[in-house]
Symmetry: D2
Subunit: 332 residues, 4 copies
């Protein structure tokens, strides 16, 4: 309810602010007997780390994960797994102005209104660093999913759809102190039939929540998605067939989920990311005391979150499916 | 986890199948002291009832709600409110064929795989009748929301966008035994600032789950939504201003929610509904024993769910906001 | 959180007041494929029904259960099972005085303070009739538990320990318009090893909550219980031995649960019930408006709840174990 | 469900094993705007630390708490508070024998059976060190409770009831390599009326769970407790009176809770602790491979947990009440 936990049986709680001593996650409900090392987790964290190319934020963060509990002689024990990444490189930017002014389209104003207090250093909990915990936990979730294969890819950046154009779009945004958004598509293969629950915890409903919980996401669609509305039912229905001993559908407008439950076909969904809120152009806003003013931020920034969002999308999908796999075992 | 409950503090559990004795909902966590009569609930139920026009399914269902508990001398007492609607008119259709064949794009196959058993009469829990409980509970949620105003409207049916065209599109689908989908937009006015929680229980993430839990929904977008990707950050950011003593944003690409928390602007989201799966054309499918076959359904059907989905969308929005309102009181 | 639900995976929500139209329970999470008829449930309800002997309240309640959902062709389908018992015989007692005066040691005053409103007819939710839903749900839980055998017995009534003395004690209390309490012991045989979770959801901790949730319960002890304090560690520790291929402990001071997890020995716990609060002697109390007064109730009453509490204790134990059994399946 | 979390709105998750790198807790749902320093927490931790007298275990553990998140400029921000205590002094005892043999009345056997793996160093999660997280979180819960005053005291050790006798009993147990248990009573003053929820989340039921979750606890009783059974209803009922403008009961057999809801009188409950399982006498047990054997442990040990359990009892009471206080705010 306080919003920092995800999952029912495979349950994570993330904690930490970007400018505090550390950031981390506790995973409760991971089955015992899985081999797990810091290396398994570090591999995923390295994928979301900034400073990997000219396209993303130039910060050099090492983001070194430490396993603090839950592992004994290299194996999970069924007890909570606590993971921590110490924060570094916290200085350098001057946050004086942000103490007094709310950045447009950031969580500054809403946090201040909700809590009456706000960590204005780097966005506090609303920082992208919060997702470190999700990616770390996702690495463990993937161990449970075994042959299930989750792959997120960027389909569009601003108006660009080829890789070359997309890189160009990001570099241009960077140059002009502006930012761009785009679309990520996620495909999940080898999904067991039967994951998800009817009514409120439909698998697609849970994935929608999981994806909308990622910063900057504005939309989610599964299978035919918004395109469904231009099809007639007779075009949209997926015919069922037995082929080589396996039940398949001849089309996949459902996106792998029917009635909220996986049907064994690929799960396919798309997510819309808005352009990053941090830009270096002058913007209208108000001060903490309610006076109209302008804000012009300086320093480093990420003109496009999508390259770094890929492992986060995959992690959230993995966390959702791992949880549903455990639930399914209980029901069977 | 079993999927039939929604909400944390204002919590509902729906139950019932379309062809069982009754269908209903238990609301736990409704504050004491609200005036509530069956009439308040019936009003909302009547909006979702089929048989109101030539556009929707011709069934005559009376859907009369009975309050079984939680009300004393016309007031809520803080104890669970149990609502029941008896099922009528359950005969008439021959379900023999559906016992053996899975309807394409219905939950038949996935339910059978998940549970090893399935109520093939009218779709069981996957029936649209399940939403009766939601609408009934939503009527109570609205009492808590007071001045908050939730309005869902149909924006598009198939390719039609004017009312006349939309009616035409539905009638044509009906005539040809086919079906159509469309888009519903929901606008919520007078939302208090501060609803929603950071990270996993962002208000927009919860609304996404709520909407994707409605049968036939394939997509959700908030504010700028998928359109966000064609804007630069400098175009997308909503400038903040104090106007006549009130903090507003000059645009509303956020759709009323920033960092997962309501900012006081209108909440605006859109939902994509696929065309109804029930159509009267011959379709490929398999039998329960795994043989390829065809299915051609007959009888009555709803060529388009959108007219009846309006109160359901509003109910799910009301349930989400009522829950968040109570949570917000706890935190303050 | 609103208190009317119990369980995580095998989850029940009870609803209804003693003088409302009906009372009931929704069970969500019952696995599919179990044979279930109203008869299975009625059998258990009949055990808790008053009016069975001269020892308990003379009301003639038929308490006929109706299954409203979740069963198809005699089998559970994995969807919510809704059970309802209509209330009868609601008239006869004059509640005018109770509208204005709080009965000592009843929930009248605390409900009024918490909710600002209270159903003064028969105690509302605090009525013993609320337990109908628990017993009905417990009958289903027992189906999951299979060979697990739960038996509750009365060990003591007031100061009496033989059956003859106990009957005498109840009859005397009845005659004098007074009431008596006692001790129920519950023994659970054939418990699988490994039920329960470490730390906060220890099996004994959950049983303690389950038992203290029964009206009139003032104490819970497991295994050696309060007697443990008179033993030295060397006397209290249960030696482990392999006997005939089975791991056992030579004593069972643990009461079948070690570190919160079942060890395969019998689970044994005892529960203290206070004397019923309803008595026919003059008592000091206050009015709703805060004036000191006296109250002398008349009519029928139950001088001792223990005979009727037996199936309730068994039901709560069954609900706890069934939930843990499903959880254990998820973890394995 | 995985058992390491406690609370609904004020929710904690503890993690860590005694011989891992660290031990800790995440508190989610702490309201914003509370002053909080490491000193506030350290003060409580120091109360549970061993090595404070000759009566308890001679280990010198510094147990220094670090706040890793959730605090900004000395104030809580409404985001998760992560607390960590690094483990020290992990060597010294030889655990080779414990790798192969199950200690009687410890969680060794049940953990091994449940998880198929067990951290045999110092008991893993079943170690008393796990309670560090609870005590640390309890220090924060107390900030919310303000004028509510929770005091736990030792009432009996083995058969001793005076302080001098109790010290003697512990010293004798220590000398003989044996152990003793006892009774702790907890009194909570200035409790607001209305805390707790009807039916399954009665305040006393939640306290029972909270207390039984503490290692070595075998029994819980509230108010008259097991003594209730020797009283007639007319003796047990607590007369209500208005005295000096305040509603009180003339006796407090209820122990401050009626119908599961606090009535404003002192909450009074007692807890039975069994003698510590670790003793230095030869005991019968089995090996991991199922052979009968004996075990004779050596080294340091705690002959009686009660002195160190006092802050743990208080912490669990504080966590329960803080959670209920927030719930009550939501409902009002």
């Amino acid at each position: 309810m306080s919003g920092n936990s995800f999952g029912n049986l495979f349950k994570i709680t993330t904690w930490g602010e970007s400018h505090g001593p550390a950031i981390g996650v506790v995973i409760d409900g991971c089955p015992a007997g899985l081999k797990l090392t810091e290396k398994d987790i570090q591999k995923e964290l390295d994928r979301r780390r900034p400073g990997q190319s000219t396209l993303t934020t130039p910060r050099k963060e090492s983001d070194k994960v430490e396993i603090l509990s839950g592992i004994f002689e290299g194996m999970t024990t069924g007890t909570p797994i606590s993971l921590m990444v110490k924060n570094k490189n916290q200085k350098g930017r001057d946050y004086t102005e942000l103490k007094e002014k709310f950045r447009p389209s950031h969580a500054d104003y809403t946090y201040e209104m909700k809590y009456g207090i706000r960590d204005y250093l780097g966005g506090g909990r609303a920082s992208a660093r919060e997702t470190i915990g999700r990616v770390a936990a996702g690495a463990i979730a993937k161990k449970i999913l075994k042959e299930v294969k989750i792959t997120a890819t960027i389909k569009q950046i601003h108006k660009a759809t080829t890789q070359k154009e997309m890189i160009q779009a990001i570099l241009e945004a960077k140059k002009s102190g502006d930012s761009v958004g785009g679309i990520i598509e996620c495909v999940i293969k080898n999904v067991p039939v039967g994951l998800g629950s009817p009514v409120f915890e439909k698998l697609d409903a849970r994935l929608a929540q999981a994806m909308l919980s990622i910063p900057a996401v504005k939309g989610f669609e599964i299978g035919s998605g918004f395109g469904a509305i231009e099809l007639m039912g007779s075009e949209h229905n997926d015919p069922i067939q037995k082929k080589k001993g396996k039940v398949v559908t001849l089309s996949n407008n459902a996106g792998g989920i029917v009635g909220g439950i996986s049907n064994g076909m690929d799960i396919v969904f798309r997510i819309a990311f808005k352009p990053t809120a941090t830009i270096f152009k002058k913007q209208s806003t108000i001060t903490k005391t309610g006076k109209n003013t302008t804000l012009e931020m300086k320093g480093r920034h990420d003109p496009c979150v999508l390259p770094r969002a890929i492992p986060i999308v995959e992690a959230m999908a993995a966390l959702t499916l791992a949880d549903e796999l455990l639930i399914q075992k209980a029901v069977k």
